[in-house]
C-alpha cells in the first residue's frame, strides 16, 4: 500500500523548496517512515536543525521543531534533551552545517554520548549558498570556491563520529532509499549519541560543476560506490578501493549516556544541600 506521508507533514507545505532530484526529500521520507515504524508521538519528538537546504527539513514535519542558527543544532538539541530527557530528539542538517561551522558542536555531542540521533545529509557541498566547498568535498572536486579543484582532503563523517565518541554510527545513501528508515530506526532506538550519515546529491550546485550530466548519474554513482558492511568483509582491499561502506558501521552499548549521568549529578547535588 502506498505510504501515507502526508499525515506527518504540516498541511500546505508541498511542493517543498528542494530542487528537482535533490536527495534531501528522499531522506525526509526515510525519516518519516522511521517515525511511523517507531510510532513516535509528535508532542514527544523534537526535530532540530541549523541552516542550509538540508536544515529546512524540520519545517515540513508536524512535530516539535526548532530551526536554529548555522551549525548550532547540537547545542539547541542538547538543551531540549536536558530539559526533557523523555523526548526523542533528532537533529538533521547538511555536511557544511555539521562539519564546518558546526564541527565543534558535532564532536562534543559525540563525546558526551547524549541520547539523540543526528541525521547528516552529506552532499559534499554548501548547497544553499551556491556551492562553496565544504569539509566533505573530496580532493580535486570543484566548487564555486575551488574552481581549479579542491586541494583539501574531505572528512569521513562516520570515522569522525566514531573517533569523537558517538556510540552508534551508520551510513546510507539517497539511492538506497529503502535502507534509510531502517538505519534511522536503529539509531533512534540506540541509547546514546547516534549518527546516520546519508550520502546525498545536490545536482544544482555540485553535480553540474563536477560533470554529472543529471541526477540519475549522481544516483548511479551512489549505487556503484556503496558496499554493505557484510559484503565488504568478503572483499579484498583492492576490491574495496574507491568504495564506501554502508549499513551500521559501529555500535557500542557499554558507554554511559549523558542525561542519565547528569541525573546522578542532580541527585548528588540535591543530597549535598
Amino acid at each position: 500500500m502506498a505510504f501515507d506521508y502526508e499525515k506527518f507533514l504540516r498541511p500546505g507545505k508541498l511542493p517543498h523548496i528542494w530542487c528537482p532530484g535533490c536527495g534531501h526529500g528522499i531522506v525526509m521520507k526515510g525519516l518519516i517512515r522511521a517515525m511511523d515504524t517507531l510510532k513516535l508521538k509528535k508532542e514527544e519528538t523534537a526535530l532540530v536543525s541549523g541552516i542550509g537546504c538540508a536544515s529546512r527539513l524540520p519545517g515540513y514535519i508536524d512535530c516539535c521543531t526548532l530551526h536554529t542558527a548555522h551549525g548550532r543544532a547540537a547545542a539547541f538539541a542538547t538543551g531540549v534533551k536536558l530539559a526533557k530527557p523523555e523526548m526523542n530528539v533528532i537533529l538533521v542538517g547538511g555536511d557544511g552545517d555539521g562539519t564546518a561551522i558546526g564541527g565543534n558542536h558535532f564532536i562534543h555531542a559525540c563525546r558526551r554520548n547524549i541520547d539523540m540521533t543526528y541525521i547528516i545529509m552529506n552532499n559534499y557541498i554548501y548547497g544553499m549558498t551556491g556551492g562553496q566547498f565544504s569539509p566533505c568535498t573530496p580532493t580535486g572536486h570543484k566548487a564555486s570556491t575551488t574552481p581549479y579543484g579542491n586541494p583539501d582532503p574531505g572528512f569521513d563523517i562516520a570515522k569522525l563520529a566514531i573517533g569523537a565518541g558517538a556510540t552508534f554510527v551508520a551510513r546510507g545513501t539517497a539511492f538506497h532509499a529503502n535502507q534509510i528508515d531502517k538505519l534511522i530506526v536503529e539509531a533512534i532506538q540506540h541509547k546514546g549519541f547516534s549518527v546516520v550519515e546519508i550520502l546525498d546529491d545536490c545536482p544544482t550546485t555540485y553535480g553540474r560543476r563536477n560533470k554529472y550530466k543529471s541526477v540519475i548519474e549522481m544516483m548511479n554513482r551512489l549505487k556503484e560506490v556503496a558496499v554493505p558492511v557484510k559484503a565488504a568483509e568478503k572483499m579484498t582491499a583492492e576490491q574495496l578501493q574507491g568504495k564506501v561502506l554502508t549499513g551500521v558501521l559501529y555500535k557500542d552499548d557499554s558507554k554511559p549516556e549523558y542525561t542519565a549521568e547528569y541525573a546522578k549529578v542532580i541527585e548528588r547535588a540535591t543530597a549535598a544541600k
Binding site: M1, L14, P15, P20, G21, G25, K29, N178, V215, I216
Partner: protein, 65 residues
C-alpha cells in the same frame, strides 16, 4: 491466479520532473511525458514500490490492495 494491478497516482503539482522514478523502475513502467512522470505500461508493474520510495517530491503513489 489473476494478477491485480496497482493504481499509480502521479501528483503533477508536486512532480519536479527529475526522472528518478522513470530511470530506476525495474520494469520500465513509467515515462516522462512533457515535464511530468507518467504511466506508460501499468501491466508490467511488479509493485516493488521503488518509484514511490525514491521520488524526492512525494509525487508518486503506488496504491495496492
Amino acid at each position: 491466479m489473476e494478477k491485480t494491478l496497482p493504481k499509480i497516482e502521479i501528483i503533477e503539482k508536486y512532480c519536479k520532473g527529475c526522472h528518478i522514478c522513470v530511470e530506476f523502475c525495474p520494469k520500465d513502467v513509467l515515462e516522462m511525458k512533457g515535464f511530468y512522470a507518467s504511466v506508460k505500461n501499468l501491466e508490467a508493474c511488479i509493485k516493488c514500490m521503488q518509484c514511490e520510495l525514491r521520488c524526492p517530491d512525494f509525487a508518486i503513489k503506488v496504491i495496492t490492495e
